[in-house]
């Protein structure tokens, strides 16, 4: 088994080659504005010693923090038209009502609430007001909105109103990109709608990013299938990742944590992953990130789908530094570090410039940062350490000191000693932990269907069997399969004893 794992971060694009469970080679290249060049450069660099020559690659797995960075930094977001089908219910809590003000102002292109939606028992809540939807679509068009998030009451049980509304919108705006909340799943209108609106806000970024990934693999001449890693440490095909970018939201962070576990051999520890733009803190339990319980906040927005329990803060190797008053992050120069950082001839003071001035990083031109004295550097490092310490403290679930694995290209910001930490562990290839995690990403199998006239136990076991078979067909080792989701919901309105069962299993890639 030979796989290439790539992590496209805000600052660096890392690539690793893993052969039979060993990291053969790991490289780093700056992320490029067009994404493609950065991936091509890293693949070229990966192959420069001849490790790829004449070898069959089983898969290229790409993970990225692009989508979550966009939300956290409020950048590259598309204005979204929110269309909710459910009037006259819930008018006091319109779409975006529990979003942070700044993000809502950026994303909210307009809100339309019309009659529609269903009851829990399958009856329409109100007949779908098709004329109002068409009128709303015309207003969206007039406002220049092309990304539309549609939600409807009880759409996970009956998605027909959302789908019909999507058709009507497409008639008026043929190039509209529509996210239906029923594609993201769960009961809970506001959280499902929020996930859909975030997904819609990423429409342009997802299209451009995935296209850049595909071009890079094509141009590199590597003949291997492309997979995008997802929040749960498994892979998805590119087309699905393009349509539902929120499912790849936390994949960069998941990959880092799984990579940190893999490289350190530790399965229970705190992990701090310091990238160029953001720092993620999480906790490893049995080699997997601890999962968040139900509602997860992304960039301050409540959503409801399975995610690792992570705290993201705006701290990284590319973070802007202001000296008076002292402020580090959350804005970052990102991939433009090598152009805009002062040590590289630019104008923007960053944490990397501080590290260069302090002699911590042998990069750039030290003379250009000679004006930064030791006291200034100490002050900035202390501020970064304080931010890290606070984040670790917030994520710890038990008192007492725990080991901390520090990974990521910005790990130089993490001191050797931190309060509440028994020891800080730096690992070989730790700066590429995310790419390692991508390369070892697992394969999943899922079953989500309605079973009739079976006992609950029989329905669950039937679903389990189907999910297992699908995972094995997708390349998983049957012995390694583990159930990560198991959920059943009785459907009172359907005839017979009907139950919707959703089972998801994951397993390691079977050896070839």
């Amino acid at each position: 088994m030979r796989r290439i794992g790539i992590d496209v971060g805000g600052t660096n694009t890392d690539a690793v080659l893993i052969e039979d469970g060993k990291v053969v080679r790991a490289v780093k290249a700056p992320t490029s504005e067009d994404v493609t060049t950065g991936i091509l450069d890293s693949l070229k660099s990966l192959g420069s010693t001849g490790v790829l020559a004449g070898k069959k690659i089983d898969g290229v797995m790409i993970g990225t923090t692009h989508f979550i960075n966009a939300v956290v930094q409020r950048r590259h977001l598309t204005k979204v038209a929110a269309l909710r089908l459910g009037m006259p219910a819930a008018a006091s809590l319109p779409p975006f009502c529990d979003w942070p003000e700044d993000l809502a102002n950026l994303v909210r292109g307009g809100v339309w609430m019309v009659e529609g939606g269903h009851e829990y028992d399958g009856r329409p809540f109100m007949p779908l007001d098709e004329a109002a939807i068409t009128k709303a679509a015309q207003e969206m068009k007039a406002a220049g909105l092309k990304s539309v998030g549609i939600s409807a009451i009880f759409s996970p049980l009956d998605p027909t109103h959302e789908r019909r509304a999507a058709e009507l919108v497409a008639k008026v705006i043929p190039d509209a990109v529509v996210t239906c909340s029923s594609d993201l799943g769960r009961i809970g209108l506001l959280e499902r709608e929020n996930a859909g609106l975030l997904n819609a806000a990423l429409a342009d970024l997802a299209r451009d990013t995935i296209a850049a990934f595909e071009k890079a693999i094509r141009d590199s001449g590597i003949a291997a299938p492309l997979f995008i890693t997802q929040n749960d440490g498994t892979v998805a095909e590119a087309s699905q990742a393009r349509r539902l970018p929120v499912y790849s939201f936390a994949s960069g962070a998941t990959n880092s944590m799984r990579g940190a576990a893999y490289l350190s051999g530790l399965s229970d520890a705190m992990v701090i992953d310091v990238g160029g733009t953001t720092t993620d803190v999480g906790q490893l339990k049995l080699g997997f990130p601890r999962e968040a319980n139900s509602v997860v906040k992304v960039g301050g927005v409540r959503t409801l789908f399975r995610m690792p329990d992570l705290l993201s803060i705006g701290l990284g190797g590319g973070s802007h530094v202001a000296l008076d008053p002292l402020k580090v992050g959350p804005v970052s120069v990102g991939y433009r570090l090598l152009k805009e950082g002062i040590a590289f001839g630019g104008q923007q003071l960053t944490t990397t410039d501080i590290a260069v001035a302090a002699g911590v990083l042998p990069l750039g031109d030290k003379a250009k940062v000679a004006h930064l004295d030791a006291a200034t550097c100490r002050k900035v490092f202390a501020e970064a350490a304080r931010m890290a310490e606070e984040a670790i403290d917030r994520m710890k679930t038990e008192a007492g000191d725990v080991p901390l694995i520090a990974v990521g290209g910005g790990a130089f910001l993490i001191p050797e000693k931190l309060p509440g930490v028994s020891k800080v562990i730096h690992v070989e290839h730790g700066d590429c932990a995310n790419a390692v995690g991508a390369a070892i990403a697992q394969v999943s199998g899922e079953c989500d269907q309605i079973f009739k006239d079976l006992t609950r136990a029989d329905a669950l076991s039937a679903a389990q069997g189907i999910a297992n078979d699908r995972a094995v067909a997708a390349g998983a080792d049957r012995v390694s399969l583990k159930t990560i989701e198991s959920e059943d919901m009785p459907l009172a309105y359907l005839p017979g004893n009907s139950v919707r069962v959703r089972v998801r299993v994951v397993g390691d890639v079977a050896g070839s």
């Binding site: 819930a90 809540f125 506001l190 959920e487 009785p490």
Partner: protein, 360 residues
């Protein structure tokens, strides 16, 4: 009347504490809280008063929601429809209310009277008839006290208004009201039978809003200071730690508009090797430790997120969640023979003699 202005911070704490007192049901107070944030932003304010300060002939309305929590998080109630439920009752009895009250402190209904109170400019009384959440209307101190079981108003956002005018007892009110509620789509805004100040003083369970605020404050403070939030609750309330573990199975079925089922938890830490099973009918009803009944209604069984200390509801609890189970003492009126008849384990179909975890 002595009134205390309720701050938005009080309401934030109330939402957290009411969810704990919801004992798995009552619906998450998050949506009522969002409505309150919007109302306070618009400049509305609500005052809290003590039952002792009610005049005997004051008239108090119980304002809240009825139905399945799972429906509530899709249909999302609003303050205007709830206000209409209270106004419909005023029109029916041809009298104006002087104050509002919670119909059950546990869950979303702990916060809902504040939504109508904000629009109606009436105070909220610091009492309720449950001291927790229960799935049925006769499971109240007012029903145990034999107060009038009707009339009750039920209102739907689509312009549907119903009054159940007269019933022989609270069970009938519950049966008929529930049929109406199911027709509405299993969610309705309601106003429970009007009570005089004298009736509330005698039969209300008092100080429950303040109690919810106290619990919520303890949890929120512990979260801010990164302290053990479950321990923080047990610091301010005379509760007992029952179990700590990981959810390994949730079986649910919807029957007669109730969410019934069973939760299984495998022990962690000092409970490793042990197992807990909890039956629910919207609320947690009986908790079994290694197949022996350990805690049962009317004791409050609270399933909390082990990390955040916040309550976890029966409709959203999921496989893999780390939870801690505690018990809080029940209101005394539920411990009388009549009280146990209304809310003891047999009222939920369990052939068990009530044994409190607090009596041993």
């Amino acid at each position: 009347m002595k009134l205390r202005e309720f701050s938005i911070d009080d309401i934030e704490s109330l939402a957290v504490g009411a969810w704990v007192l919801g004992t798995g049901g009552g619906g998450n107070p998050y949506l009522p809280l969002l409505n309150m944030r919007a109302l306070y932003k618009e400049g509305h304010r609500v005052h809290l008063m003590q039952a002792a300060d009610l005049a005997d002939d004051d008239l108090v309305a119980g304002a809240g929601g009825m139905g399945a929590p799972l429906v509530g998080i899709e249909r999302m109630g609003d303050p205007y429809t709830l206000t209409r439920a209270v106004r419909a009752m005023e029109a029916h009895i041809k009298r104006k209310f002087t104050a509002l009250m919670s119909v059950e402190i546990g869950g979303g209904n702990g916060v809902r009277p504040f939504m109508a109170a904000a629009l109606m400019k009436l105070p909220v009384v610091d009492s309720d008839p449950m001291g927790r959440a229960y799935p049925e209307g006769q499971m109240t101190s007012t029903a145990i006290g034999g107060l009038a079981p009707s009339p009750i108003s039920l209102v739907d956002v689509r312009g549907l208004e119903s009054i159940v005018h007269s019933t022989p007892n609270a069970k009938w009110t519950e049966r008929v009201a529930r049929k109406i509620c199911v027709e509405y789509g299993s969610t309705a805004s309601m106003c429970t039978p009007p009570r005089t100040g004298a009736e509330i003083k005698k039969w209300g369970i008092h100080g429950t809003t303040t109690k919810a605020v106290r619990i919520g404050e303890a949890v929120r403070r512990a979260q801010r200071l990164h302290e053990d939030a479950v321990a923080a609750i047990l610091n301010v309330e005379p509760g007992v730690l029952l179990f700590k573990g990981k959810v390994v199975d949730v079986a649910r079925r919807v029957t007669e508009g109730y969410l019934r089922g069973e939760l299984r938890i495998d022990g962690l830490d000092e409970f490793r090797g042990a197992a807990m099973r909890i039956n629910f009918q919207n609320e947690w009803i009986v908790a079994w430790r290694d197949e022996q009944p350990l805690a049962m209604t009317p004791d409050l069984i609270c399933v909390l997120d082990s990390v955040s200390g916040e309550a976890v509801g029966s409709e959203t609890i999921r496989y893999g969640q780390r939870v801690t189970v505690i018990a809080l003492p029940p209101p005394e009126i539920f411990l009388t023979p009549k009280g146990l008849e209304h809310v003891g384990p047999r009222a939920f179909g369990y052939d068990l003699d009530y044994r409190s975890v607090f009596s041993s």
